[in-house]
Structures are given as structure tokens and as C-alpha cells.
Amino acid sequence: MDLVIEFTIFVLAAFVGFEVISKVPTTLHTPLMSQTNAIHGIVMLGGLIVAGYADGALELTLAFIAIAFGAINIVGGFMVTDRMLGMFSRRKPKPSDPEQGS
């Protein structure tokens, strides 16, 4: 792909990233960081591609580790985020909750 087109995409993506995160409640800082962390696991695609033309023991090993690292990043990242957020979604308003004072 043309470098200039790639650069255009890069700049536009950067602005989308800036805009998409507006004011985030403090509570969601960690889960959101964890989710974006999982998204950069996209580098695993790079591992898959270089595996295709890897040649010799060193390059095969590099590709293997890169893919394994990427897979940990993706799978672990999304699952940990889900666990963190699960703690919130389990909360249902309970009418029986004893409300004192206030």
C-alpha cells in the first residue's frame, strides 16, 4: 500500500482514538485500559504473517514466541476485562436492601 495512504489512515485513526474516549468515569479506567490492552494484541497478526516466510530455527522460534505472546495478550486481555466488568453487571437493584438513615 502507498505510504501516503497508510499515513492518512494513521492520522485519521489517531483522531478517532482521541475522540472515542471522552470523559470516562474513574471506575471504568482499569477495565477500559485492559480492553484497549487486549486490542493491541492485534500484533499477533504480524506474527502469523512472518511465520509464513520464516526460515530456519531462529526465525521459526521468533514467530512461534510472537504468536504465543500475541495469543496471551488477546485471550487473556479480553477475558480479564470480562471478569472485571462481570463484577458490575452482577449488581441488580435489590428492593429488599435495608436502607437506613439518609
Binding site: I9, T26, P31, M33, N37, I39, I49, F78
Partner: protein
């Protein structure tokens, strides 16, 4: 194994990648609101699945043993680690996942470098490879140090070498010099040795930059490294001509930067301050002499009496509560107080624990209702009208030095003003300083009573003492 059906850079491939990063953008957007965050994470995960499958179908993908092996090994580690991890250890888990992401970038860059060397090596591929290698390596090692600090494998206190900034600057200049040298000579078989030297120097830099940073600042550092890994993934995308990598990496880079700044603002710190001055900037008060200062120590029974006859109680939870897994015991204690007509609320400091939102997650797990969790800004004006403030395993976030002592390493950090309450009970295992490594004057006030015990045991004891009253 599979027949390659997609052409790299072909129309269908690109469209599938566009679908995948659209899902990422929707996922991140939904992650900013509590009602949609869980679904947002799912959507982003689906986007990732689309991207991975698309890539696996590309023409030229081969060495299936390596691919399947890597996917299985990495996937299994990811699954087991995420299921086993305790809620208290989530922050270091994020650091670790971030680190392996950075490591993958560095290794891919190395692979690309070997692949391109000797042949036609255009500069527009060469430069992003060098960038990806340097940032990936810094991120890998920096994240590992952050992990080790949070896991208490190495001291959480700032570790600094004299002349640290100068050493870092020299290493950075050396890395840049090698990169420029390689860039000038990129056409005639660039040296593999020099490339490895870049990886190693960047690794040293990653260690040296994160080691001097105190544990309390670690969340911001992890977030910053997260953004850097995203950028390095985008760089790898430039060298591989892969639009999915460019867009997804850049999204993480820019949204991660905003998130980092928001986290720093919540702690009233600035990012350059954390990185370059850090808590290591000034030696922090007389540590070690803490044992000698007079303080008042009480039993669970005393605490129960103070609490049971109060009208309003504010509980200030901190990392000690998380470590002791005391959230259920504390909820029980609060319920006992509730039965006696005491108004119990929880004061949540934005960075209590080791990650923003840490306390909300823990208390939600114990079924504490949302409306009882009060943010710092809202609870502080109520403090003078509060009969008893109970500090459970929190330290730095209540330290009056943050506002009274301009020389304190945590000066300027907003705190929960427990000292304004009529009476303060601090449940803590010892007088030892907190994460920032500094003494807390709160413990020595006349109105403060110390209950030395594990947070869980203390809460259980207080609850059972309350039932006896």
C-alpha cells in the same frame, strides 16, 4: 491445511479488516459507560476474531505447525491465567499482558529485519521496523518491571541510581545513533548485531525508566506503556503493509494516551512528573523512626462500641482490604451497624487500591449497593458531620501530608479528609508506611485510634462484638 482464499491487501481482505476495526471502535466507545462496557468488550473480541480468521486465510500464510502451536500455547496460558487471577492481582495481570504484547512486536520486528536484510529493503519499511523494535522492547521490559513491583517481587519503593536521568539520556542517544546509522546503510545488508544491540539497549532503558517509579504511580505507567505498545503495533503494521495493525494499534495508542492523562489527573499528578521526577525525586521524611511516635491502640470491642453508638459512619477502604479479601466481612460489619440504625457509607478515593475503580469492583463483589459508595469529592464536605471514619487498609489516600506538607512526595494529591471526622479508627496490620513509602501523620492524631489486625479478622471481630452489645 487450509486453502488460502484471501489476497494480502486485496479488496475482500481490506473490507474484512475494516469490519474488524469498526468493531474495535464501537467496543472502545461502549467501554466508556458502565451500562454498555461488558457488551463493548465482547464486540471488540468479535472484531479480533474477524481479524485473526481473515489473516489465517491469507495467501502466503504457512508453517502451520508454528502457527497452531503458538495459538494453542498462548491461548491456553491466557485462559488459565485469567481464570486463576485473583481480583486483587488484576492490575499486575494487565501489566503482564501488555508486556507480552510489546514483546511480540519486538520479535516480529526482528523477524522482519532478518527477512528484509540482504535484499531490497525500502526505507519506509525499515524505519517502522526500528521504531517497533525499540518501543516493543521498552514496553516488554517496562511492563515486566511494573508487574514485578505490583506483585511485590521487587521493592515497590522508588529505586534510583544517582545520575539516573543522565544515564537514560545517554542510552536513548545511543539507540537513536544506531538507528540512524542503520537507516543510512539500510541497503547494504544491515548488521544483525547492531539490531540486537538496539533491542538490548531498549530493554535496559525500559528497566531503568520504570524502576525508579513508586508503586502508587504504577497504574498510570501501565496505561502509558499500553499506549506505547499500541503505537509500536501500528509501526509493525506500516512495515507489514497491514491496515488492521495500523488502525487498531493507532486506536490503542491515541485512546490509551487520553486514558493515561485522565488517570494522572484523577491522582492530581502529571505524566512528565511521574516519569522524570517520580516519587523518587525527594527523599521522603524520616522513615524507620516511625515506631517511636506515640499513638493510641484499641481493641475490636472498643471499636465496636464507638461504631454502634455513632449516627453516621464512613468506611474508607484501601489496598489492605483487597489483600485481606475483607470485602464480605466489611459488608457484614456494615450490615450489623445498619440494623442498629447507623448510617454507613463508603468513601471511594479515585486511586484507592492499586488501580482506579479497584474498590468499586471489590465492594460490588460483596453486594454492597451502589448508592452507598460515595466519591471523594462528595464525601469530603460531609466529613465534619461524620461521627466515625473507619480506615480499612488505606494509607496514602488519607495522608494529611498531601495537603499540609508541600515537600511531601504526595503533595497535591487529593485525599479523603478523614481527619475532619469526629473520630478516626484505622484498621491496619502495623504502622508501616503505605505504597508511596512515606509515614502518615493521621495515625498519630489525638482523635485517631489504631486497631492493629488483618482487615478481615478485624471486621469479623468488630461485627461479632457489635452483635453482643
Amino acid at each position: 491445511m487450509l486453502t488460502a482464499v484471501l489476497e494480502p491487501g486485496g479488496d475482500l481482505t481490506t473490507l474484512l479488516y475494516v469490519l474488524s476495526f469498526s468493531l474495535f471502535i464501537i467496543g472502545i466507545k461502549q467501554g466508556t459507560s458502565p451500562t454498555t462496557a461488558k457488551r463493548g468488550n465482547m464486540i471488540a473480541a468479535v472484531g479480533m476474531a474477524v481479524a485473526v480468521v481473515t489473516t489465517l486465510l491469507l495467501d502466503g500464510i504457512g508453517n502451520w505447525g508454528v502457527i497452531v502451536g503458538g495459538l494453542l500455547v498462548g491461548g491456553a496460558i491466557g485462559v488459565v491465567a485469567s481464570i486463576r487471577v485473583q481480583m486483587t492481582e488484576m492490575p499486575q495481570m494487565v501489566a503482564l499482558y501488555n508486556g507480552v504484547g510489546g514483546g511480540a512486536v519486538a520479535l516480529i520486528a526482528w523477524s522482519e529485519f532478518r527477512h528484509g536484510a540482504g535484499g531490497d529493503f525500502p526505507l519506509e519499511e525499515f524505519v517502522p521496523i526500528l521504531f517497533a523494535a525499540v518501543i516493543g522492547s521498552i514496553s516488554f521490559w517496562g511492563s515486566n518491571v511494573a508487574f514485578a513491583k505490583l506483585q511485590d517481587l521487587i521493592p515497590t519503593k522508588p529505586l534510583a541510581v544517582p545520575g539516573q536521568q543522565v544515564i537514560n539520556a545517554i542510552i536513548l542517544v545511543a539507540v537513536l545513533a544506531i538507528c540512524i546509522y542503520l537507516g543510512i546503510n539500510h541497503d547494504d545488508d544491515p548488521s544483525q548485531g547492531l539490531f540486537i544491540a538496539i533491542l538490548v539497549l531498549a530493554a535496559v532503558l525500559g528497566n531503568l525508566v520504570v524502576l525508579p517509579i513508586g508503586g502508587a504511580d504504577m497504574p498510570v505507567v501501565i496505561s502509558l506503556l499500553n499506549a506505547l505498545t499500541g503505537l509500536s503495533a501500528a509501526a509493525a503494521g506500516f512495515s507489514l503493509d497491514n491496515v488492521a495493525l495500523i488502525v487498531a494499534g493507532t486506536l490503542v495508542g491515541s485512546s490509551g494516551t487520553i486514558l493515561t492523562m485522565e488517570m494522572a489527573t484523577a491522582m492530581n499528578r502529571s505524566v512528565p512528573n511521574i516519569l522524570f521526577a517520580g516519587f523518587g525525586g525527594a527523599p521522603s521524611g524520616p522513615s524507620g523512626s516511625t515506631e517511636e511516635r506515640p499513638h493510641r491502640s484499641i481493641t475490636a470491642q472498643d471499636a465496636a462500641i464507638s461504631l454502634a453508638y455513632a449516627d453516621s459512619v464512613v468506611i474508607v477502604p484501601g489496598y489492605g482490604l483487597a489483600v485481606a479479601q475483607a470485602q464480605h466481612a466489611v459488608k457484614e460489619m456494615a450490615d450489623e451497624l445498619g440494623k442498629r440504625g447507623v448510617e454507613v457509607r463508603y468513601a471511594i478515593h479515585p486511586v484507592a487500591g492499586r488501580m482506579p475503580g479497584h474498590m468499586n469492583v471489590l465492594l460490588a463483589e460483596a453486594d454492597v449497593s451502589y448508592e452507598k459508595l460515595v466519591e471523594m469529592e462528595d464525601i469530603n464536605p460531609d466529613m465534619p458531620r461524620t461521627d466515625v471514619a473507619v480506615v480499612i487498609g488505606a494509607n496514602d489516600v488519607t495522608n494529611p501530608a498531601a495537603k499540609d506538607d508541600p515537600d511531601s512526595p504526595i503533595a497535591g494529591m487529593p485525599i479523603i479528609e478523614v481527619a475532619d471526622a469526629q473520630q478516626v479508627i484505622v484498621i491496619k496490620r502495623s504502622l508501616s508506611p503505605g505504597f508511596a513509602g512515606i509515614d502518615n501523620d493521621l495515625f498519630y492524631l489525638d482523635k485517631t485510634a489504631m486497631l492493629f489486625d488483618d482487615a478481615k479478622t478485624a471486621a469479623q471481630n468488630i461485627a461479632s462484638e457489635i452483635t453482643k452489645l
